[in-house]
């Protein structure tokens, strides 16, 4: 029988296992860094929101033009939503940290929505917004596709504000919003200009629901030129 160094087999196994453990450790480390990044972004948004509200109070007797309709949140929220969905995809929608971040994100969205409503009422502006309810529980087959449609629209019309909420998220403020708006569980559901629509809507259908889509286009091209 030929000589076989069994120790070498064990050593190679140990090194390979160590490499794999390191790889998983690194992956975990980067996932944690992602979570920290999302949290930092949320904190920044919370500060910006508070600042916006304060600015709103301070400027209550001055010109509405001093309050930017776009507010500070559109870019930040857009960036945050993609990061959050990545974290959700990688860590799982049941991960406690992800759920906590989603709750904070949902609260920020509600606050931003309310602030914009107040600005609109006082200044007579008509911000174009969509409130979108989805579910990750598996009961909503078309939610992923509706998400694609809204992502596309948000990229096409930067002034369009999309507030997306996980219908199943256990958050009292969100439950209140669902109750006030009387949203049923037939998801996906969209609230556009105060009306609730159920079922999948493609790009053309959603564009028809938005009253000022032409204006948004002009605003988009203007903002792109500037």
């Amino acid at each position: 029988m030929k000589y076989i160094d069994w120790k070498k087999y064990v050593l190679a196994l140990c090194i390979t296992v160590a490499i794999f453990v390191t790889a998983f450790f690194l992956a975990n480390h980067f996932n944690n860094a992602r979570i920290a990044d999302v949290r930092a972004t949320e904190n920044q948004i919370a500060i910006d929101l508070l600042s916006n509200e304060t600015q709103y109070e301070l400027l209550s007797e001055q010109s509405c033009s001093d309050i930017a309709e776009g507010s500070v949140l559109s870019d930040a929220l857009n960036s945050l939503v993609s990061r959050l969905s990545y974290a959700e995809e990688n860590l799982g929608s049941k991960n406690a940290e992800v759920i906590m971040l989603k709750k904070q994100y949902s609260l920020l969205e509600i606050k931003d929505y309310l602030l914009m409503q107040k600005v609109a009422a006082r200044c007579g502006t008509r911000p174009v917004s969509i409130i979108y309810f989805y579910s990750n529980s598996g009961s909503c087959a078309n939610c992923s596709r509706e998400g694609d449609v809204l992502t596309y629209l948000r990229e096409t019309y930067p002034l369009l504000r999309v507030y997306s909420f996980d219908y199943d998220l256990d958050l009292s403020a969100l439950k209140t919003l669902i109750n006030i708006r009387n949203v049923r569980g037939d998801l996906p559901a969209l609230i556009v200009n105060g009306t609730t629509y159920y079922g999948f809507k493609d790009v053309g259908e959603v564009e028809k629901l938005i009253l000022h889509v032409e204006k948004l286009k002009v605003a988009t091209s203007t903002s792109e030129q500037s």
Binding site: I19, F24, D37
Partner: protein, 409 residues
């Protein structure tokens, strides 16, 4: 992590384990470099050049043999024309007057019949083969003879093989693969587990054929089967990494896939014939490492390809169908330059380590052979190999399952 992804991790784990094992072997016994020493004795050597339609390359092969740094009276060259239908015989006859050269012309019967006929007529101490599409470096035979002299138990020696003058992307890709192979073969040598004695300049002690018998058809891979048979008789095979042979490689995808299908199918079919060697400690590292891992990598590569293909096609189809129904016009995805967009899962890190080890293997192969491969070749290797290799693996697996023999050309 779902079931399919677990399979990917399992394949990568095995591949990494194998690479780690080879690198430990390298660190344990680093191969010595080339020396200016000459053999104490020059045994008689016959080099057989089997040819079948090799009119374009035979002359260069012969010139490389004439240029060998070896006493002329000790070296004879036997050209065997295996029933060529082109001008090979005419080219061979142009060397007729050369005192070292003898020519045999026979009816076509396959490479193994050409080799056997010539071996039967040879009386030299060492007998070797140089494919008519290959060239020997001037000191290659000297380095091989030194290997026989170092260890009297060695019954066959194979050289390091490099690609001759690679130019097009496929040739450049193969240049890197052959360089990587130099490292592999040397480590297999250290482990006494060389599994093939390739056509470009493998040399045997003539007496080894008395033990093993002559070459067989062996699913058109007689060089692999002979190595298996030598292991079956516990005969020692070595690698002279400082001996360089150059070979012409297929220039077209069709020719490459055909050649590699023959090799891969030969491996599968010979594995069936010598299945008793698998996991058998009597055959050392060949039975307990090289053969099982080679087979596992064969299957694993097909699995990864199938997995990526199925997922790729599925996700592209879903995207297209979704786009159709969502009403989103086809557009390039928005690209953001953000670290957040890099998918930093464990697979990425394991793949990076595999990539690093592959590069280290190429670097070491380059050092053993004393010649480099260009960055351009490395680029084409990483660009093409993953797409090209599955073609012949799948073709060989299909051929082997159908028990349909692979063809030479």
């Amino acid at each position: 992590m779902h079931f399919g992804e677990l399979g990917i991790y399992a394949v990568l784990f095995l591949a990494l384990y194998f690479e780690v094992f080879l690198f430990i072997t390298f660190l344990e016994r680093k191969p010595a470099g080339k020396t200016a020493d000459r053999p104490a004795r020059f045994p008689t050597v016959s080099i057989i050049v089997p040819c079948f339609n090799e009119e374009k390359t035979l002359a260069a092969t012969m010139r490389s043999l004439f240029a060998l740094d070896y006493p002329r009276e000790k070296l004879s060259i036997v050209i065997v024309d295996d029933g060529s239908t082109d001008g090979t015989l005419k080219v061979a006859e142009s060397f007729c007057g050369h005192e070292q050269v003898s020519i045999i012309s026979k009816k076509n019967g396959g490479k193994y019949t050409a080799l056997n006929l010539a071996i039967e007529r040879c009386t030299s101490e060492l007998v070797g083969c140089l494919d008519a599409d290959s060239l020997a470096a001037p000191d290659a035979l000297l380095e091989i003879v030194k290997k026989f002299e170092e260890d009297q138990e060695v019954m066959a020696v194979m050289p390091s093989i490099r690609v001759y003058n690679p130019k097009n992307p496929l040739e450049l890709m193969q240049a890197v693969e052959y360089t990587f192979g130099i490292f592999y073969k040397k480590m297999f040598d250290t482990l006494s587990a060389i599994s093939v004695l390739p056509g470009p300049l493998s040399i045997y002690r003539r007496s080894s054929f008395e033990t093993t018998g002559m070459f067989r058809h062996a699913h058109n891979t007689e060089d692999m089967e002979m190595a298996f048979r030598m292991h079956a008789h516990h005969l020692k095979i070595a690698n002279a990494h400082t001996a360089i042979a150059y070979t012409h490689v297929p220039r077209t995808l069709r020719a490459l896939v055909k050649q590699r299908t023959r090799w891969s199918q030969g491996f599968l079919d010979n594995s069936k014939d010598y299945a008793y060697m698998y996991f058998n400690p009597r055959y050392g590292y060949l039975g307990l490492l090289v053969l099982p891992f080679a087979l596992a990598m064969f299957v694993g590569s097909l699995y990864i390809t199938g997995y990526l293909l199925v997922h790729g096609v599925r996700s592209i189809s879903i995207r297209i169908i979704d786009f159709w129904f969502e009403g989103i016009p086809l557009h390039m995805p928005t690209i953001r330059f953000d670290w957040y967009d890099i998918d930093t899962n464990a697979l990425l890190f394991v793949s990076c380590i595999m990539l690093f080890m592959t590069l280290a293997g190429v670097f070491l192969g380059r050092r053993f052979a004393g010649e480099g491969v260009s960055n351009k070749a490395l680029f084409f290797y990483f660009l093409l190999y993953g797409f090209v290799a599955p073609l012949w693996l799948a073709s060989a697996a299909w051929g082997s399952l159908r028990s349909k023999g692979a063809v030479w050309r």
